[in-house]
């Protein structure tokens, strides 16, 4: 029997949420540096207000919900789910105050899209947005999705190892890379910063080659590196990467996107000297297979419908978007209305499938994750072999993810549960979108983009979108980021409170 929720449970969750508020408050200070560099002094009060509200809330929560008790798994999961709502709401304050969006709901949407690394945007006029607010949008993706707010919060502020480990699991970063959580989180941050620097250099060089002045190239390079590594997809311009009309910028983007979609564990072992792991890993193999298969099919579809007729166009439009979709980044070099009005349905369906499948587990990518897809495919193949072999034959499956792991029923069940949950939410999201009058393939495309935290848009996501749809997509982005389970655990917790009340 599930025990009733007690006041102590609420205190444990609330107290740890206070730390999230402190970290969010600290994050909102950073764009002030950018505002000073670009003399955008009018934007500084927006960040001070957002930061102050976060700190005040954090202090009040930490004081009135103070507890010495450790988190258990249920607290960690609920805390993670609530943190991924609370932090975006707090971070939306400067966005709202700067009038970058049309309403408070749009500001929350933008912030949720930032933190979850989605990239769907409701910003009104990106080309005239201040550097500081633009930097905030991109930094939210790097900090929230690229590193993970809970990773940072608990490695700095975590009480004990156990509560931090459990909160990690809640944020779906189930890693055993290093003996301690502090070392693991330091490694994640070190990997992120290393690739951020490399990505910035690549984008800056490509930008200068494309014709930008060095200052703009560095600013744009840094921002695109942040969102590329975080597989987020926000851009500093309304045209996204089409602004640059440059194959070199797109190549730099592909490098950063693919690296962002790789498992943190794999980064760790490869950077530690086991370079051969990069091709032995099941997720890399599935990624290569998916990219090349989907890339071939989409390119063939658009070539034989005479949409794009040159090899360069096929690479820069078809393959680029397949990679952007599969890695769940969302960088775009095609107008959203072209996806909706001109691209063939077959290609749209393939891109939607790529978005739903997503990138590697324990990476910055979203989606069902290739590890689960790989596990299910291997399980399916194992069942086929069992049917073909004699009854007495024993079929043992395994997969190589850093090390050889047996394919047990528990592993298969876990992968199946998440996959089914994704597909249910995908169906519900598609139905809600279609109910607002959009076509089926467009609804599938936009829903898979929100749920998989991708950010590619066929034009449905816009400030004029119905409010109900905005709320729906915010829910999908939030649930997709937490890989669904944490959301259901939170709902279960709330239902338990309502049914049995809160005991002392």
């Amino acid at each position: 029997m599930i025990p009733a929720v007690t006041r102590e449970d609420l205190k444990i969750i609330g107290y740890n949420l206070g730390k999230i508020c402190y970290v969010t408050g600290a994050v909102l200070f950073l764009p002030i540096i950018v505002a000073v560099i670009y003399s955008e002094f009018d934007t500084i009060p927006y960040f001070l207000i957002g930061s102050a509200i976060a700190f005040i809330l954090g202090c009040l929560i930490s004081h009135f919900l103070y507890t010495k008790k450790e988190m258990e798994l249920k607290h960690a999961v609920c805390m993670a789910a609530l943190a991924w709502l609370l932090a975006p709401i707090l971070a939306s304050v400067p966005i709202l105050l700067s009038n970058a969006t049309a309403s408070g709901l749009d500001a929350c949407f933008e912030s949720v899209s930032g933190f979850t690394g989605t990239g769907l945007t409701l910003t009104l006029d990106i080309d005239h947005l201040s550097h500081s607010i633009n930097f905030l949008r991109h930094f939210l993706q790097f900090f929230g999705d690229g590193i993970g707010i809970i990773v940072v919060s608990l490695s700095i502020l975590g009480k004990t190892e156990m509560s931090s480990v459990l909160a990690f699991k809640g944020e779906t970063k189930d890693m055993g890379m290093r003996p301690s959580i502090v070392r693991t989180s330091r490694m994640i941050i070190k990997i992120a910063v290393t690739f951020l620097i490399i990505g910035t250099i690549l984008f800056t060089v490509a930008g200068i080659k494309a014709g930008l002045d060095p200052g703009t190239a560095v600013f744009d390079g840094l921002n695109h590196s942040m969102t590329g590594y975080a597989t987020g997809g926000f851009s500093t311009h309304s045209q996204n990467l089409l602004y640059y009309h440059s194959v070199w910028v797109e190549v730099a983007a592909i490098v950063v996107m693919v690296i962002g979609a790789i498992n943190f564990n794999l980064h760790y072992v490869v950077l530690g000297g086991r370079r051969r792991e990069i091709l032995k890993n099941i997720e890399v193999r599935v990624l290569l297979f998916m990219l090349l298969t989907f890339g071939l099919l989409v390119s063939a579809n658009l070539l034989f419908t005479n949409f794009y007729t040159s090899g360069e166009a096929l690479f820069r439009k078809c393959v680029f978007h397949v990679i952007s979709a599969q890695t769940t980044t969302g960088f775009q070099t095609v107008s959203p209305s072209h996806f909706m009005l001109l691209w063939p349905v077959f290609s749209m369906v393939l891109l939607s499938a790529a978005m739903v499948i997503g990138g590697s587990a324990n990476s910055t990518s979203g989606g069902i994750k290739m590890l689960r897809v790989g596990v299910l495919l291997k399980s399916f193949w194992g069942d086929v072999k069992r049917a073909l072999l004699p009854k007495t034959a024993v079929v043992r499956g395994s997969f190589h993810n850093i090390e050889d792991t047996p394919l047990t029923d528990t592993v298969i069940k876990g992968a199946a549960m998440i996959t089914i949950s994704y597909l249910i939410l995908f169906s519900v999201g598609t139905a809600i979108t279609a109910a607002h009058g959009y076509g089926l393939e467009d609804s599938m495309f936009e829903t898979s983009s929100a749920l998989g935290n991708v950010g590619l848009s066929c034009g449905i996501t816009s400030p004029s979108m119905p409010a109900m749809l905005k709320v729906t997509y915010m829910f999908l982005m939030w649930a997709g980021k937490l890989e669904i389970m944490a959301v259901f655990v939170l709902f279960g917790f709330v239902i338990l409170c309502l049914r049995k009340g809160i005991k002392k």
Partner: protein, 169 residues
């Protein structure tokens, strides 16, 4: 003689047909196939200039949609103000051939400019800090600092362990 006159009249008429004029960037993008390889006129604000040798890309924003214009570098040099947070960019008029998937530029949607004119110069946008917002930020920051220290004192009096950031001072 009559045939010659008719023929000349037809030729003259063909030259007099004005280029297809697009109402907005949005219309061009949403009806790309209709405008493909046709001469169009686009008016809008310059939000980006990327010079590449003898040529340049000028991104022109019109009705929430920006389109890349491929033009001569000398034309791009006519642009004095590029739109950003503190500037409204030059308003330009571009007459050129529209491509919804340009074969020369890797499938990009673009306009190859034949005529590039700066209609109006850009201007600076004053962004002075709003007094009310500044006051509110000052009040909230002061309140935050007060609450941090006040709650810390309360904790010390109740002899509880003080969580960060209250314990860092």
């Amino acid at each position: 003689m009559r045939r010659k006159v008719c023929f000349l009249a037809i030729i003259l008429l063909l030259f007099m047909i004005p280029p297809v004029s697009a109402e907005s960037g949005k219309e061009l993008v949403e009806n790309s196939v209709h405008f493909d390889n046709k001469v169009v006129t686009l008016r809008g604000e310059v939000v980006g200039v990327l010079t590449r040798g003898d040529s340049a890309w000028v991104n022109v924003l019109d009705n929430e949609v920006a389109i890349g214009v491929w033009c001569r570098a000398n034309d791009a040099k006519k642009v004095s103000v590029i739109g950003d947070y503190t500037h409204i960019g030059d308003t330009v008029e571009v007459v050129g051939t529209f491509h919804f998937a340009c074969t020369e530029h890797g499938g990009d949607l673009d306009i190859h400019a034949e005529n590039f004119t700066v209609l109006a110069s850009g201007k600076v946008v004053e962004r002075a800090p709003d007094l009310l917002t500044v006051l509110l930020s000052a009040v909230l920051v002061a309140l935050a600092i007060f609450i941090i220290f006040w709650l810390r004192r309360l904790r010390e009096e109740k002899s509880k362990i003080v969580p960060w950031p209250m314990s860092w001072t």
